[in-house]
Each structure stands twice: as C-alpha cells, then as structure tokens.
Symmetry: C2
Subunit: 471 residues, 2 copies
C-alpha cells in the first residue's frame, strides 16, 4: 500500500473547494496554515497546503471525492489537542478541520442518549447533559479544549474511565464520511447490538484513518448525586503503585484513581501558583482518589475504608477535599500536569498501559531506563487503569523522532511495557510518533490485517495516511 501520489497539485483544486465550502472557509494564507501545522505533540509541525473548514457532512463528502480522485492527502482535525500527532498534516495536502460541525443536535432524555456533531468541546457537551441530570463520563484532562470528535478518533479515556469506561463504551452509533465520499451510519441507536460486524467499534480509535466522523450518538447515564475526593501522599512511588492494585482487590471501585509523581505536582503547583498541596521531601507521589454515588453515607464509609486500607501501604496523612472549591483546586492541579511538565522541558510523552498490578514494575523500569539512556522522566496518570503517562526530559532532545538514542530508549520502554502484558497507548493513540513501535506489540499478520482494513475504507490511502502504521 503506497501513499497516494498526488496527480495534480492541491492548489489547482482551490476553486472547487471554495465552491463546496464557501470562499470564507478555504485558507491558504501562512498564518492560518501555521495555526494548523501543529497539535500538542512534542515540538512537531508540518504545514498543510490548504486548510478547509467545511460546514456539514455533504461538504466533507464532496471534498473527499475530489481528494480521492486526485490522491490528495487529507488530514482531519478536531481541536488539535492530541499528543500522538494524529492531526499533524505531515504529508501536506488538505487539512480538514471539523470545528464548524459544533452543534449538539439532540439530548434525548427519554432514552438517555445525545446526538452531537464532532466539533463540540467535550466539557460543553458534558455540561449540557449535566444540566438535564445526565452524565457523559469520559473526560480527558484537556476536556475544556478538546472536541468530542477527536475523543472518538483516539478512543480517549480520562480520570473517570476507571469506573465508567472510555469513549468506546459510550459510542452507540456514528455517521461517517468515507474517504471515497459515501456517508454511512455504523450501527443503530441501541444499547445492545449483535447485528453484523461492529463497524462502530472499528471506527472508534481509528484516528481518522478510516473516515471522518460527522455525527456521534452517545449513551448517557444518570449523573451521580455526590462525590468525595481525597489526596494521599506516599513515600515511595512504587508503593503508591502497589496501593492502587490493593484498592480494587479489596472490592472498591473508585470513580477516579490518579497517580502523580511529586516532581510533576511541584511543577504544576508553581505554574498555577497553588499551595493547596504541601510539597514535602519525604513524599515521592500522591494518589488522588474519588468515589461517587447517590448515597452520601455509603460514600463516606467507603472513603474511610479506603483511607484505612492505605495505612498498610505506608501512606502519609490523607487530605480530604472538603468542599467544591477544594475539589476544583485539586482537579485543576491534576488536569494541568501535562501542560505544566511540557512547558518545563518534559516535551516527549508516552501513554503506556499495563495490567494495573504491574504498575510498580513499570515505574521501576522507567527510572532504570532513564539512567541507562540519559533522560529524566516524571510519571502520572490514570493508575487505576494501569495507564501511566511518562513525560521525558532529555536535554537537547525536543522530540522523539530525530535522536537515535531516544528512539532506542523508547523501544526499550515499549518492550518493557509489552513484557508486562501491556501496550503502547492507552488513550492517546499511535498517530505519527508511536507508529515506529507497533512491531513491538503486533506481528506481521496483525499489522497486515489492519492495513487491509485500511484499504477497504481508503483504497487510495488519502485519509490520514502514514498514521498508526507506515503507509
């Protein structure tokens, strides 16, 4: 399968694109191209030839038909908050932004479903359904700026996933424009479906390589009435990891169970000018633990029982967030860790995931690899799911693509992850920057199946080509 070879220069089709989407929504000026040249991945940027902001599925279909005919690379983009380079237009061509598809179409309170366009900000969607007592749980740390369409593309998770699941667990049905221009629905708006192959689940997490999602039907659940939040310090990062597994083994199902290494907390506390959490020399990491439900007494009992359990893991003094403001402060710290550590020099991020009891082994391994390969790493993430974000700071190396020693060290990291029963990405996707490591977790046959699936949907390989695997 080869990357599409453009048969005529992209810019010869500008008039056609303008006729489809309107002149106001087709951009070739450098400023706009520059804005869409990067996402949140490392320091990478690639200029597209043209940025198009279509207004609906039919326009997207018409654009894709032209691009398919002339084999023009198309990179779909939601909010550009991705961390694996999925929205980077590394082959030039058309950058297709879905930002104008930003309407919540219907909140169906009778069936607890919402139908939305992909360009709605995730938090806006959450707030809109919450106003009706409903809950859409998956909320990446970037929920205030990311879009639900991007979340579907990457199969995003976030802190609530540990109790409520990830995006794939909420998507019931998708309207998708295929690279060849057809518009299809992948399933039906039902909670259970055993009718043919699961095209919905094939589309979720396919990183914009199989089609462009234009409508999303999500399952909603009743919003829990109460939640409680606590922060627990640990003297050892590894012991914190052990405590995570113990909480589940004891029968608890927290609604969030996050791990933050002390250095990350220190950096983010400085950035947001917060003294909410004391940074003490004897603390190596914190767990942030939330429980939620409809019965406050039950939650109080549960929280106390968890705190009691953690004393057996050498936990320090537990800090309970007493009110909404304290909770918000703690969550703000957690949610802004990624941004803070990146600004602080930790530009390379890996999104490893292992069976949760393997967290201590993974954490130990990361630190050893750091010594061996001359990088410094901080760890944080969704420990309850075994999903550990590893931010890497290697002086002089701003991205993971060019430095041979960095590439070697990442191979070693992913081999470790694989040996622990884990895989490369838990919620950020493979995109551009991790595709070189897919051979560590998949053999030739598995990758061949994936490539052939790609070919069914995109015979000319125009849509986000060279993402997930080499074209």
């Amino acid at each position: 399968m080869t990357t599409g070879t453009i048969t005529t220069p992209v810019l010869e089709h500008l008039d056609a694109f303008k006729k489809i989407s309107g002149e106001a929504y087709v951009f070739v000026d450098e400023e706009v191209l520059g804005q869409y040249a990067q996402d949140q991945t490392e320091d990478l940027h690639f200029l597209p030839d043209v940025v198009i902001k279509p207004g609906n599925a039919q326009e997207i279909s018409d654009i894709l038909k032209i691009c398919n005919q002339y084999k023009i690379p198309v990179t779909p983009r939601a909010a550009g908050t991705g961390l694996s380079g999925g929205a980077l237009p590394h082959l030039g061509g058309v950058l297709l932004s879905i930002e104008r598809l930003n309407k919540i179409i219907d909140i169906d309170e009778r069936n607890l479903q919402v139908t939305t366009e992909p360009g709605v900000i995730t938090e806006v969607l959450q707030d809109a359904v919450k106003a009706k007592g409903l809950f859409y749980p998956p909320d990446p740390s970037s929920r205030g700026s990311c879009m639900i369409g991007g979340n579907v593309a990457e199969n995003s998770g976030g802190p609530k996933a540990v109790k409520y699941g990830v995006v794939k667990d909420y998507v019931l049905n998708l309207e998708v424009v295929l690279p060849t221009g057809e518009i299809i629905w992948t399933g039906a708006n039902v909670l259970k479906n055993s009718t043919g192959y699961n095209l919905t689940q094939l589309m979720v997490g396919s990183e914009g390589t199989l089609g462009i999602v234009t409508k999303i039907v999500l399952k909603l659940i009743p919003h829990p009435k109460y939640d409680l939040l606590m922060l627990v310090p640990f003297k050892s990062l590894e012991t914190a990891g052990e405590a995570v597994s113990a909480i589940f083994r004891a029968g608890f199902t927290p609604s969030a169970l996050e791990l933050v290494e002390i250095e990350a907390l220190e950096i983010v506390s400085k950035m947001v000018d917060s003294t909410a959490v004391p940074i003490t020399p004897e603390t190596e990491a914190h767990l942030i633990i939330e429980v939620d439900g409809n019965h406050m007494d039950a939650l109080m009992a549960e929280m106390e029982a968890i705190a009691e359990l953690l004393t057996g893991y050498d936990a320090g003094e537990v800090y309970f967030a007493d009110d909404a403001q304290q909770k918000a402060e703690l969550w703000k710290l957690r949610r802004r860790v990624a941004e803070a550590v990146k600004m602080s020099g930790y530009t390379i991020e890996e999104d490893t995931v292992v069976p949760r009891a393997q967290l201590p082994a993974l954490i130990r391994g990361v630190k050893e690899l750091g010594k061996q390969y001359h990088f410094h790493a901080v760890c944080y993430g969704h420990a309850g799911d075994g999903n550990l974000h590893i931010r890497i700071n290697k002086p002089g190396t701003k991205n993971s693509q060019s430095d041979p020693e960095m590439i070697q060290s990442l191979r070693a990291l992913f081999q470790l992850v694989q040996s622990l029963g884990g895989t490369i990405s838990g919620e950020h996707g493979i995109g551009l920057v991790q595709k070189g490591y897919m051979d560590i977790v998949f053999d030739a046959k598995q990758l061949d199946i994936m490539r052939q699936i790609k070919k069914i949907f995109d015979p000319n390989n125009i849509l986000n080509a060279g993402k997930i695997f080499e074209a």
Copy 2:
C-alpha cells in the same frame, strides 16, 4: 465472494483429521452427526459430514489449514444453545466443536482478569470467579449450559447488561485461529487500549465467521455484596414498557430490569410447576427489577423509591423476593421462559432491540402485526436495554424460513424496529435465520464493507460461510 467449492470430498481427509486430533475425536457416525446437526434455533437441522473435537489451538490451526486448502466448509460450535442458527452446519462439511477447550486458565486476582478457554460453561466461569469475590456479569438465560466462547461469538447480553454491559464490554483480548491457520492475539490484557484498530471488538459478535476463538481474557469487577429483587404486575403491557423508561429517567440504574408478558409467565409457571407468581386476569405483564451494591440501606431506599415511582404507572401490588430461595425461584421462572414458550409452540424467536423509550410502540406494533399476519406472539426480555424477545406461534409454521407469509411478517416487524431507531438483533446474532433481513438495517455500502472484512480474514470463505450475510 462465493462459497468455497470443495475440491475434494471431505471424507477423503478423515485420516488427516484423525492424525491431528486423534482418532477418538473425529466422528462420522450418524448418531454424533445428528447431535451436532441442530442448535436451539427453531426446528432447523443440517447434518455435517464430520464432527471434529480438537484439543487445542494448534490442532484447530492444522484442521483449518486443510479445510482452507481444499475449501471445505467449517462450522465452529460451542454449546449449541444459540437462537439464530450460528452453529448450524447448513453447508455440511466439518463441524468443529470447541467443547474440549474447557479449562479456566488463570484467575488473576491482582489484576481482576480471567483467562479462559472458550468451552467453559458460562455459569461455571461465573461461579469460579465469584468464589474469589469477583464478578463476570454477562449471563445469558442459558448460562447453565451455554459456553463463554459462544457468548463471545454472539456478543451475548443477559439480564445484568442493563447495568453492567454485554460481553464486548468485558473482553480485553482474544487468541484466535484464523481460517487460514495463523494464530493471533487481537489486543493486550489492559483496561484501556488505543493501539491500532480494535481487532478485539471486531472479533466479538462476529459469530464465528472471522476466526475461532481459543483463549479469552475477560475483565472482572468486585462482586457486589447485596442485591434486592422485586416483581411488579401491570394491567397493560404498554404501560409496563413506559414504566421502564421512567425508571431510568428518574436516575435509577437497576442491575436487572426484565419484562415478561403474562402468557409467557403462565406457560413457564406450568412447566416448572411453580405457583410463586399468581396469574390474575387483570395483569398483562410483569417487570422484574433488581438492584445491587455494597450498602444494604441504600439498596432498600432505592427499591422503595422505584416501587413508589411505579404506582404512577398503574402498577399492581409489588412482590418483594425476601430471601435467596424466593429470588432463585423468580430467576428460574425468568430464565426458563424461552424454553417453555418454545415447547409450547412458540418456535420462532426474534431478538429485536430499540431505544428503550420505544418499547411501548414496538409492543403495540407486534400485536398489530400478529393480527395482520395471523400469528400469535408473546413478548419478554431485557426491557431496560430496549431488548425485546418476540416469540411467535403460527399454527402449521415451525420455522421462519419456508412460509412466505411468515417471511413477509418478519420483514414488516424488522421494518418497524428500524423505523423506531432499533435493529434486528440485540444479543442473539444474525446467524442463518436473520441474514435475509440485513438489507433493512444496512445499505449496500455497509454490507459491502462487512463482506470485504470477511474476505480479509477468510479469503476462501470456508468459516461459517453464509452466516450473517449471504456468501
């Protein structure tokens, strides 16, 4: 895509099969062939040419390589409890039973996962993990006889799905033998995974058409400590359907919410000789409602609040199952409905699913279609999920395949389901008997994508060919 044309008669390969699986596990005698000629679907039966019971994935691989080379049809089979004809060897050839792959390989208490072979009885698996305080929720009514491999093939549900989800929500990773003989794993043993296309979810619910599952890694959760069960009579079947939607809108998440029409209850009560539920002339249907959790007080409050809510829907006197025995009695009645109504002449079953608020419209429509097309139907099923089983009794018509008026009436039924936003199968699969109706819910493009996916995995179309869609 054409069905594989056998290049040499199946029986010429008997020696090769015996060499692979051992002489004791290759059967051509009529008695055994007859046992494997049917599943639980209507009155259909088709004799295979040979029954093979391999002992492991490697043997399955070796058998499939021969069948692939000589284009011999292969029908995989677990327990044969399916209701859509997925395990029927309608093309003859090899019937490949996975019954000997019946070991639970590992219950991983540290990670709350179980790795199992596909031939383990679902209830045996549930009991084994429950003994360690763990919970695998999806339990079809046939859990005492069905196998977990079959559940994966059909993406089964059961009464707990309304709170806990269906099989697809628990499968983390699968070992699969492809029709071409390769053995692959589909993913990793992790709770979150955004690493390439979701081959695991593609395999779940693919009804044995893409590969034969030989190992299954399932997510487990802590087993809830308590559950409460009640039975609520309604004067009108439609009002019962309306009450279902109201329960969720009010913010409750029951762990089961089943609907049983009075005629079905009457039939099953007679069959199991039970007087647990009084059958009164003013009752048209019952809801069976369960809540579960770790705090008894909270559950009691919830159950009372639901009962209170239902008085607004003209519910009759609520019957609370007071102890384990009463609960077991009620569940036994519910679980044996399918068997009882089938024995009573309702041989044709449809597995419709709609958005749950559309249940009353579906129920009303079924009754009208019955009048129009001269059949009698009883309804029951997982109302909380909008998943309604419709059992049809039409004197003189034992299956759905031969009577033109029956085929016409099923088309009308599925068109109604589709118009209500639903689809053909919620948990039983399409198999043999529903494949003629796929065009009602999928257009040519969607079906073409599915056929092409089939072709990637099974280029010679040997594995369960002619299931889900026409070969």
